[in-house]
């Protein structure tokens, strides 16, 4: 019997994993405040947000490393959940191959399957040459890749990856993404946390968190389409109240005008189409302004 099935606060969903209205308290308040979220098989779902947004807490819930104080977490059993914790979960004093062998045995993978997958994933991740090196001696990017393939090894229904690409060079990042999309193509529901919003654009579904609360959720297109008001690009920061709704991006200024707001006086500017990063920034800004007004 799976561990999850016997656990209160979780239930088995049919191919669809996630959380409903979950809250997690810690000493300083709420780490997660009634967050809902879903992950579908064969898709990559991204959880985005800055430091302290609650991404890791949500992923730990999904992986089964933490239980919610309230709400329901839907996850498969431990045998069907692959997890890359924020600190990679790799033993630095074991070799690459030994790490994978331990993971395979821990998940009860048949030896032949384990051998086959290990060889294939090492090859795909570009780690075949490093199989006998101690994991502690690998570069940051290589160690992350090892963490990802270790989490993929059991062929889990739910693959939970906490910031798999943070601190990884661009070449390794694309290698990692190749692995991640492959896991999704093989039928896993992949949930990953990232602080890079451009990465989240590749995901089928995005949850943006801020201070433990949901900021925006949906497909990247839905989130972008849902941006209220107008976004303009300006050469310099507008003066006055509009300045509080402006932020710098790629050497220029973005100014957001809520629905019904008067266009800012100042240098001529042009209306632009927001992207996911703009949409998340605007959502955070709107919440901040609403909080200030209240």
């Amino acid at each position: 019997m799976s561990r999850a099935a016997s656990r209160p606060g979780t239930d088995q969903g049919a191919g669809r994993w996630g959380a409903t209205e979950v809250s997690v308290r810690h000493e300083k308040g709420l780490a997660l405040d009634r967050v809902s979220f879903r992950a579908s098989a064969g898709q990559v779902t991204a959880v985005v947000g800055g430091d302290g947004a609650g991404k890791t807490t949500l992923l730990r819930l999904l992986a089964g490393a933490l239980a919610p104080d309230s709400g329901v977490v839907r996850r498969p059993g431990a045998r069907q959940t692959g997890y890359l914790p924020a600190r990679s979960g790799i033993y630095p004093d074991l070799t690459v191959a030994e790490n994978l062998a331990f993971r395979a045995a821990g998940y009860g993978l048949p030896a032949a399957v384990a051998r086959e997958r290990t060889a294939e994933y090492l090859e795909r991740a570009g780690l075949a040459e490093a199989r006998d090196r101690l994991a502690g001696q690998l570069s940051g990017g290589m160690r992350q890749k090892l963490g990802v393939i270790a989490a993929m090894l059991p062929g889990p229904e739910l693959l939970v990856l906490d910031e798999p690409t943070t601190g990884v060079d661009p070449v390794s990042r694309s290698g990692l993404w190749w692995l991640i999309t492959r896991a999704a193509a093989a039928g896993s529901a992949v949930v990953l946390a990232t602080s890079y919003i451009d990465e989240a654009e590749r995901a089928a579904w995005v949850l943006a968190l801020d201070g433990g609360r949901e900021l925006a959720a949906g497909t990247p297109d839905e989130i972008v389409a849902g941006v209220p008001g107008t976004l303009r690009e300006a050469r310099s920061r507008p003066a006055g109240e509009a300045g509080r709704r402006a932020w710098r991006r790629a050497g220029r200024w973005r100014v957001w005008e809520p629905p019904g707001a008067a266009a800012a006086a100042g240098p001529p500017d042009e209306v632009i189409q927001p992207d996911l990063q703009d949409a998340v920034t605007i959502a955070a800004l709107a919440r901040e302004l609403a909080g200030a007004a209240a």
Binding site: A78, G89, Y91, G108
Partner: protein, 354 residues
């Protein structure tokens, strides 16, 4: 330099455990050692056998204290009293000369007995009265350790110290390492039961400790000529129980430590009293009662009794029931506590929602 001093003090202040250790440990050590550090044997227990058994207590003064008298019993009974640890000395009357049997495995009691007997003879002989007849030139036999070798009594105990070392320090490091490398969380979500993780953690150390024990014994026997007179099976059972307790303590320590430094500190704090108070160095009977109770909470105290009893006196399982039971109880308590603590990391979902 001032910046460095301030930084260091700030760090020390944050590390409460080190701070407590720096302040409390010296006081604790002084008090414990002050009461414990004594080789003087206040009482020497005597078992008397033979027709004149009842008159023996009249003849012996402090530190001797007759704990049993059996006029109908003979030398075999007397020797069994020593073997089973019921008395330090046995007096067998009824022959042409009384025979005094001394348990050489209780080194300090044996030495004190020899000294006291010599004094007794000196004070009694000049008077030349009838009392002398009973005491005069008793036949003294030191059993189990006739030459009163220190190594004979130290090595069975040292075997225990080696096991404490492996069991506590090495095991505590093994688990805390998982926490420091961030792999404990990975273990927590893997489809492993807490019991599997617990046993998987201690079995390798168990095996290493068993090999170490065999080496210590082999060296003790081959190099130091320590006898092994009793049953290896009884000894093995004792070692097994003792290891179980010690490894459990190791896991318990690591489950309450955040890093390897803390684990080592705690491990040393449990080892120190074991080495000092378990009867290995200072005889238990010499330790003041206010401190002696600590000894009865320490697994090494019981292992010491078992290993000395089995190796030197060929003590069988029966009379050793008390140390065996105490070890089993300690083991159950420690392993339960360690498993419960372990669960908090390994099945956090279950614990939080409970």
């Amino acid at each position: 330099m001032w910046a460095m001093i301030v930084k260091e003090f700030r760090q020390v202040r944050r590390d409460r455990r080190t701070l407590a250790m720096m302040i409390v440990l010296p006081i604790l050590l002084l008090v414990v050692l002050g009461y414990a550090a004594s080789f003087d044997v206040p009482t020497i227990t005597v078992a008397a056998a033979g027709p004149q058994a009842s008159s023996v207590s009249g003849l012996l003064r402090a530190p001797f204290s007759v704990v049993s008298q059996e006029p109908d019993q003979g030398r075999d009974w007397a020797q069994n009293q020593l073997r089973d640890g019921r008395a330090n000395v046995a007096v067998v009357t009824g022959g042409s000369r009384p025979e005094v049997l001394i348990d050489g495995s209780q080194l300090f009691a044996a030495r004190a007995t020899l000294a006291a007997l010599a004094k007794l003879e000196n004070t009694v002989s000049p008077a030349g009265t009838t009392a002398t007849a009973a005491v005069a030139s008793p036949e003294v036999t030191v059993l189990y350790n006739p030459d009163l070798n220190t190594s004979d009594i130290m090595i069975p105990g040292l075997a225990g110290v080696v096991l404490v070392f492996i069991g506590t320090i090495i095991t505590s490091l093994g688990v805390v390492r998982e926490r420091q490398s961030g792999t404990l969380e990975q273990l927590a979500v893997m489809p492993l039961r807490p019991r599997d993780v617990f046993l998987g953690k201690i079995v390798p150390y168990f095996a290493v400790a068993a090999v170490d024990l065999a080496i210590v014994l082999a060296v003790g026997i081959a190099v130091f000529g320590v006898p092994f007179r009793g049953s290896p099976a009884v000894f093995g059972l004792g070692a097994l129980l003792f290891l179980f307790v010690t490894l459990g303590i190791g896991v318990l320590i690591s489950s309450v430590s955040q890093n390897q430094g803390q684990a080592i500190q705690l491990a040393v704090m449990t080892m120190l009293p074991q080495v000092l108070l378990s009867g290995l160095i200072f005889p238990l009977s010499s330790i003041a009662i206010g401190v002696r109770w600590i000894a009865y909470l320490l697994p090494l105290t019981y292992f010491n009794e078992i290993s000395k009893g089995v190796m030197l006196r060929a003590e069988p399982l029966g009379p050793l029931w008390l140390p065996f039971t105490c070890l089993a109880v300690l083991g159950a308590v420690v392993v339960t506590a360690a498993t419960l603590r372990f669960r908090r990391f390994l099945a956090p979902s279950r614990v939080r929602s409970a």
